[in-house]
Amino acid sequence: MDRRHFIGQSAAALGMLAGFSGQARANLQKAEILVIGGGYGGATAAKYLRLFSNNTAKVTLIEPNASFVSCPLSNLVVGGSRTISEITSPYDNLSKRHGVKIIQDSVTSIDPVKKTVKLASGKTLPYDKAIVSPGVALMMNSIEGLAQANKAGVTLQAWKAGPETVALHKQLASMRDGGTFAISIPEAPYRCPPGPYERACQVANYLKQNKTKSKVLILDANQDVTSKGALFKKVWAEQYSGIIEYLPKHNVTAVDAKTKTLKFEVQDDIKADVLNLLPAMSAGEIAVKTGLANSNGRWVNVNFLNFESTAQKDIHVLGDSIQIAPAMPKSGHMANQHAKVAAAAIVAELSGWDVNPAPVLTNTCYSFVNEREVVHVASVHQYNTAEKTFKTVPGSGGLSPAPSTLEGVYAWGWAHNIWADSLG
């Protein structure tokens, strides 16, 4: 082979390589990426797929709601110190600023073989990659009589922020003085471990100012307070003594809507005036229906390097729907962090690069104990290659020493920043 020939071959080989690289990039630009659900996980994923691909990926977000209503801070709306409009954000910045195509609709089915999704409007859309972040489904059948009672508005969940959040505040405001507001908590895992205890504080704060003869009853199916336990108990004793009563190991099994009576596995029946019943939870309905919930039929197992479902290729699942790693909470902060790992992994895969072998997640979660003072829990989770899961870093994270108004300022700051990070 003469030198010229050799150079020619090398150039051809180089061209081939360049071609391969061009091809991978073309995959990134051509692939149809559908994001199902515009909550903390989905909205963040849609935005970061665009950012991480330098605005080249084709991203479509499917979400039935016209605007985003935050569950974080929604307890303040239940307690009456904030309004629902203060925790509502528009979706259109995702399209205007980031080029995400938004379809206001809901997905009725996913065909993982044909790689298509069907919308309620009847349209079918193809995908190369689907991101599924539908939040939780409330298992209404886990409490006898709950489905009908909730439909009739006798009980409320308000665990998906929106009209029920406002309705629950109204029920609280129109409760007779001397009445009881009961909140029931299912066995963990459920969405937002400290959320129900924060809600109890907000309701008690309202009662303290408006209906001093009334009380809050916390009916917890768990053995003890599942998050920030010592901090909440101290607040209940110091700020809400005689207002909040905490009953652990109280698993509600049935509700009689007519008499507003709750039944338990072991204990005597309890009557209350306002019933905020939280049933057991599972992955969002569309995830379960698609056969993704391969952990006890309730939660979705994922590969933590790219959040791909272990049940179906090219479907990545985020947020509350997944089977968590140890000590990983079902929180909005965490869903936003899942989204960034998944978005980076998908951009890498479609570019023909290796997926980041060492992703990191953090969590911070603030709880308002009245309208100004807050306590937090924080953690950092590093990917552990040997165990193929996320592990919290020993010595990192922790709790607040006590409630403070400074953390109250940070809690609002966190909310505004995460809304802007996910949707702005």
Partner: protein, 105 residues
């Protein structure tokens, strides 16, 4: 034959160094961006926080200033609410990457 071997050697060199270097430079950039994005929930996308949002703004810091503060949080030299707890969860190398990504250039 000799040149075919040579071609193979060059190709594998190209693959192992030049080509994959170009690839890995882009991939590494992506890993770094996604690591820094772990801070965005509280401090804003790319470190640009909501002005007057209540959370301390970090986008006026240089990379060097940011790294000094992150290390001080990690060692306990600087007090805070959440940052001392979070900083302890990252390796020194990760803190350096974050400071380089988010610090004012």
């Amino acid at each position: 034959m000799k040149s075919a071997l040579l071609l193979g050697a060059i190709l594998s060199l190209i693959t192992a160094s030049g080509f994959s270097q170009a690839q890995s430079a882009d991939a590494t950039k992506l890993y770094h961006r996604s690591l820094a994005a772990t801070c965005a929930n509280c401090h804003g996308t790319d470190g640009k926080g909501v002005v007057d949002g209540g959370m301390p703004l970090i986008n006026n810091l240089t990379s060097e200033q940011m790294l000094t503060q992150l290390k001080a949080f990690k060692s306990g030299a600087r007090e805070g609410t959440i940052m001392p707890q979070l900083a302890k969860g990252y390796s020194d190398e990760q803190l350096e990457i974050i400071a380089n990504q988010l610090g004012k250039k």
